[in-house]
């Protein structure tokens, strides 16, 4: 049994949630894979636990111009929708398939929850930044939109105020023939990533790059966009790989450090993982 007392509420409507959020010490419960073990371990002592499960927030709207992801959409839902996701949105099921912990975790863990938790070691943040996702935030003061880059402020710190919730995520439409690649490095199967890389590459018929986006996660406290246009646009990816790896190491100059890996180790492997993501995208001839 969790040691601290709290009030548990599963609001039936968003207005009820808004009212709850204006109380003190509210913990929002989504999929529960972060919050429940923290409650069990006594790492969090909320006054109220606000469970989102009855609010219908698990909708995944595919098929329009943009992809609209409700905050309670699970990794498993994304995997089931994989065939319908085109262009840059393919990055979501690619990332979701490797989420650690078995299908038991992927069935309940949410993309929105991972974003709000903003752990440097999670898969989701760098992917959302790579996708130029728009984060829709809701609070009693109203609605606001942020870019994914602006949403991830620091380790375990999102841009949400204490009385705000993430209401949804929009992934903008992209060209359908974009190639995507995702790689992560973790020390063992059950462990958290210590470096992740997501890439989106558009190529001409002869393989020259017309547009590129590379984002590295887990190395620093927040996802890092790697400026690669000067290295890649108009070039073949293969010829730019080493320069990209060096550029990644330069950008990730202040790596995050924790019990899993030192800052120096993270910096050293950051470039390697970025190269592997590009290879995984199938853009290296």
């Amino acid at each position: 049994m969790i040691a601290t007392t709290f009030e548990y509420v599963a609001p039936a409507g968003l207005e009820d949630l808004d009212r709850l959020m204006s109380q003190d010490a509210v913990t929002v419960l989504g999929g529960g894979t972060w919050v429940i073990p923290e409650l069990t371990a006594g790492l969090r002592s909320p006054g109220t636990v606000a469970d989102l499960r009855l609010l219908g927030l698990a909708t995944l709207e595919v098929g329009g111009e943009a992809l609209r992801v409700g905050p309670m959409v699970t990794y498993a839902q994304v995997l089931r929708a994989a065939e319908a996701l085109t262009g840059s949105a393919q990055l979501l099921p690619t990332m979701a398939s490797g989420i650690t912990g078995g299908s038991q975790i992927r069935n309940v863990g949410t993309i929105g929850g991972s974003a709000c938790y903003a752990s440097p070691s999670s898969d989701v943040p760098a992917v959302l930044v790579a996708l130029n996702a728009v984060m829709h935030v809701r609070g009693v003061r109203g609605l606001r939109d942020l870019t994914a880059e602006a949403f991830f402020v620091d380790a375990f710190t999102s841009a949400l105020e204490h009385d705000e919730v993430l209401e949804g995520i929009t992934i903008p439409a992209s060209q359908r023939d974009l190639k995507v690649g995702y790689k992560k490095f973790k020390l063992s199967e059950s462990s958290y990533p210590i470096a992740t890389a997501a890439c989106l590459i558009a190529q001409e018929a002869d393989g020259t790059v017309s547009s590129a986006r590379v984002v590295v996660g887990a190395v620093c406290a927040t996802p890092q966009v790697i400026p690669v246009d000067d290295l890649l646009v108009g070039q073949q990816v293969a010829s730019a790989l080493e320069a990209i790896a060096d550029r990644v190491q330069d950008v990730c100059s202040e790596p995050y450090e924790d019990v899993l890996a030192s800052a120096e180790y993270r910096r050293k492997i950051s470039g390697v993982i970025a190269k592997r993501a590009l290879v995984a995208a199938g853009v290296v001839a």
């Binding site: 049994m1 969790i2 040691a3 429940i36 078995g102 299908s103 038991q104 069935n107 199967e189 059950s190």
Partner: protein
């Protein structure tokens, strides 16, 4: 808080403290102790049950949040008094030693085979990567799941 849950086909009305985990209520209130607590962090998978058709780790759920759900625990894994073919395969291939991880492994195996009736060894290993075993070194578990897949395909 009052909740209604169906467990292995039987409806239950329970009054539970919201601080209690689903695994605790399964074990203590319903006396279904085949579901095990190994870590409380969501790593080991010994607490795996099926909820509304999906496998979950019941140490990562509050009991009160299961209101309205239908659960299957290991006690309900086989629909009758005989061993399910997957259970039989684990028996035949010595797929367990102490048995602590076994219920979770069985649910993971069933989850895999429902989606992929002819998995490669790599796919089997991936399917159990949310379940930890301290006894077997995993080889007998992989063999058991391979055998279960063959049995199910030929039946």
């Amino acid at each position: 808080m009052k909740i209604e849950i169906e467990v292995n086909g039987t409806p239950h009305q329970l009054d539970v403290d919201p601080r209690r985990l689903l695994v605790e209520v399964i074990r203590e209130d319903l006396r279904l102790t085949g579901t095990h607590i190994g870590c409380l962090t969501g790593d080991c998978g010994a607490c795996t049950v099926e909820r509304d058709g999906e496998i979950i780790k019941s140490c990562l759920a509050l009991a009160v949040a299961a209101d309205g759900s239908a659960l299957t625990t290991i006690e309900g894994f086989s629909g009758d008094d005989d061993l399910d073919p997957i259970q039989q395969a684990f028996w035949d291939e010595h797929g367990f030693q102490c048995g602590f991880c076994l219920p979770g492994m069985l649910f993971a195996a069933r989850d895999l085979l429902a989606a992929n009736p002819d998995p490669s060894d790599d796919e089997i290993r991936t399917a159990i990567n949310g379940n930890l075993c301290r006894c077997t070194g995993y080889e007998p578990i992989v063999k058991s799941i391979r055998t279960a897949a063959e049995k199910l395909r030929s039946s």
